[in-house]
Symmetry: C2
Subunit: 382 residues, 2 copies
């Protein structure tokens, strides 16, 4: 009898293996939440509760089961969202990233980036730390202001990520749209200018002692330079390295690995084309620059990327997922150490502007859509 049961169990597992498990699996999308105003970032604070930023709205707490949304009040009043008429069309401003402290369960700290304005001066990227009490932000502390405030509407950056070293990493964009507007020392190449950089700071805003040295006039917290418009960062599950996405101009979208003191080359070199056709960057020894791990030969506008470590799709384990605003696909990267082996463009028949990939603590994969009626979408088996 026991042998009979085991025999059938064996047959069942074998048939399962060769029919279901081995066969091609085409993932599907399930809409979990709708009605979000261009969601930008999401972080799980319990199994079912997330904090979510809307680029054109609010910081929200959402329960993914009850679908109840709660606006977190008390956001700093210098926030300038994308709808502000003063800053015109194509405005990239708003609330950007939300992440929680590695010790969130103890200190309840969260970290936010957003576009802040100073009347008559313009806008810039601002990073704050805060806690939530009675559905309101409190204990707000400013960690970084990427001054100068300018009238440019683009490329705030605003990516936030805690490294495996418990330091907070921050991407700040260069804020220019045309290369022709670059000063003699391009903004992203100037260590005394806060823009076009990646930062590494302590969670309280102080500067770690072991940051790379960019000279005595370098801005505080500087970790890497030569950045045009980076947003997303993700921690490689095996190496602990930070991988980040960067927007190119006309093509030239890239995936890079963050290294201390690295120069990613903008605008001295580009894997795409300059917007200003006759722009002549200063000459440079390219051996001093760090090349991307990957660049696309088409425009993708890659944003909030994530490594997948869940169990639902075993073949995807440790793959890098990159959402695209332009074209609206999800890109899956198979890697071997720091080398890209293959790149899959998923959901090509269901294009929608994608801002962010988020994995839940229990390993589910979610997407945020950059739409006026923005959505949280879960990726699952059919």
């Amino acid at each position: 009898m026991k042998s009979k049961i085991l025999y059938f169990a064996l047959i069942w597992v074998v048939s399962l293996t060769f029919t279901k498990s081995f066969a091609q699996i085409i993932p599907v999308k399930e809409t979990v939440i709708t009605g979000l105003k261009r969601p930008w970032s999401m972080v799980f604070i319990t199994k079912n509760d997330v904090l979510l930023t809307e680029k054109e709205g609010n910081l929200l707490r959402i329960n993914l089961q009850s679908k109840r949304k709660t606006i977190i009040k008390g956001f700093p009043s210098d926030l300038v969202d994308s709808l502000d008429v003063n800053y015109g069309k194509g405005n990239n401003s708003g609330i950007f990233e939300v992440v929680i402290d590695p010790n969130f369960s103890i200190n309840q700290y969260l970290y936010l980036s957003y576009a802040a304005q100073t009347p008559n001066e313009g806008t810039t990227t601002k990073i704050i730390r805060a806690t939530i009490k009675n559905d309101s932000l409190t204990q707000i502390k400013t960690l970084l202001i990427a001054s100068p405030f300018t009238k440019q509407n683009h490329h705030y950056g605003g990516g936030l990520k805690f490294g495996s070293d418990q330091k907070l990493y921050i991407t700040i964009g260069e804020r220019l749209f045309y290369e022709i507007d670059e000063p003699a020392t391009p903004i992203a190449q100037d260590p005394t200018d806060k823009r076009g950089k990646i930062y590494r700071i302590n969670p309280d805003g102080s500067i770690p002692n072991d940051n790379p040295n960019f000279g005595k006039n370098a801005v505080a917290g500087l970790y890497a330079l030569g950045i045009r418009a980076a947003q997303g960062m993700a921690i490689h599950p095996e190496t602990g390295d930070i991988w980040f996405s960067e927007h190119g101009t006309i093509q030239g979208d890239e995936i890079n690995i963050l290294k201390a003191g690295a120069n990613y080359g903008w605008p001295l070199v580009t894997s795409g084309q300059y917007r200003s056709k006759d722009y002549n960057p200063p000459k440079v020894d390219v051996s001093t620059l760090t090349s991307p791990v990957w660049f696309w030969r088409q425009t993708v506008a890659p944003t909030g990327l994530a490594f997948y470590t869940g169990k639902e799709f075993p073949a995807w384990r440790n793959n890098l997922f990159v959402p695209g605003l332009s074209g609206g696909s999800l890109w899956r990267f198979k890697l071997e150490n720091e080398k890209v082996k293959s790149v899959e463009q998923l959901f090509v028949d269901e294009p929608v502007r994608l801002r962010k990939v988020v994995q839940s603590p229990d390993g589910k994969l979610y997407l945020l859509t950059d739409e006026l009626d923005g959505k949280i979408i879960r990726i699952k088996k059919p």
Copy 2:
């Protein structure tokens, strides 16, 4: 005892399932044969013997185990290969496709396409049927000459495929390089011009009675029009449809499904850009045109495609594989009926110009590289 064996068998299958089979598999390349002069096409005639065409060389028989190559003599003397100085650089001519008759084991017929020349007139695509005797082509019969002979060096087409209806399908390119050279009725749109078309003929060269009707002046065997530069064709393993690749100009590379009487639109419309920037095609009701299943937003130069039905990579079953000359990647398409669900770019870190994907009768997947030292490469598990 029996129960114990079954128990361990169960454990083994389960562990195999969850460790090996489920995990990410990164395929590798194994070079099987080298020293080929830009191989274009390959067909298995026994388990280990293939016939192979070299664009800049010969028709060969190769044993993949002994690696012995035999030149098949007696190729028609009007062959013009890519090296012919009269036709200059960027010459696409040479020997193209080789396929065998569905009843090859009985009649030993093979079918070949190649660039043929007529002195002082120029070149065109020619399709012949023949058999091999004493390592020499014999019983050569001409099935199609895609006249006129012209001095243009490009886009011969030359794709050959037997459909599930036992008819021979043939792709013939438009032969122009610049759209500005189009006549008032563009070549590929003119049913009285042999170029820029897809044909369907009987294996003896006669015309099937049930071909679509393109009017009484249409060229014999015409099956579809509006083709710029199609080469590869493959039979969908479930539907029996023929899928074919087509080269665009600047981008605009496509995958199409062949349908009787269809107009694929060239040069009236394109998913890329025209080479002649100021080309104004005749106006047309686009609803009469058949859209591609897929087009790339980057240049790929897709050629000899194949559906995979082997057992080595179960997750790839019934996927479409498309090799690219430009960029040198292999592209894998996951499909749901006639819809592309996802597209994977494989071997991105090992680029090499790829002309053809071929599956052996026992389900192994091979690639032909378009190199002066061309190779047969097998794709296998690491």
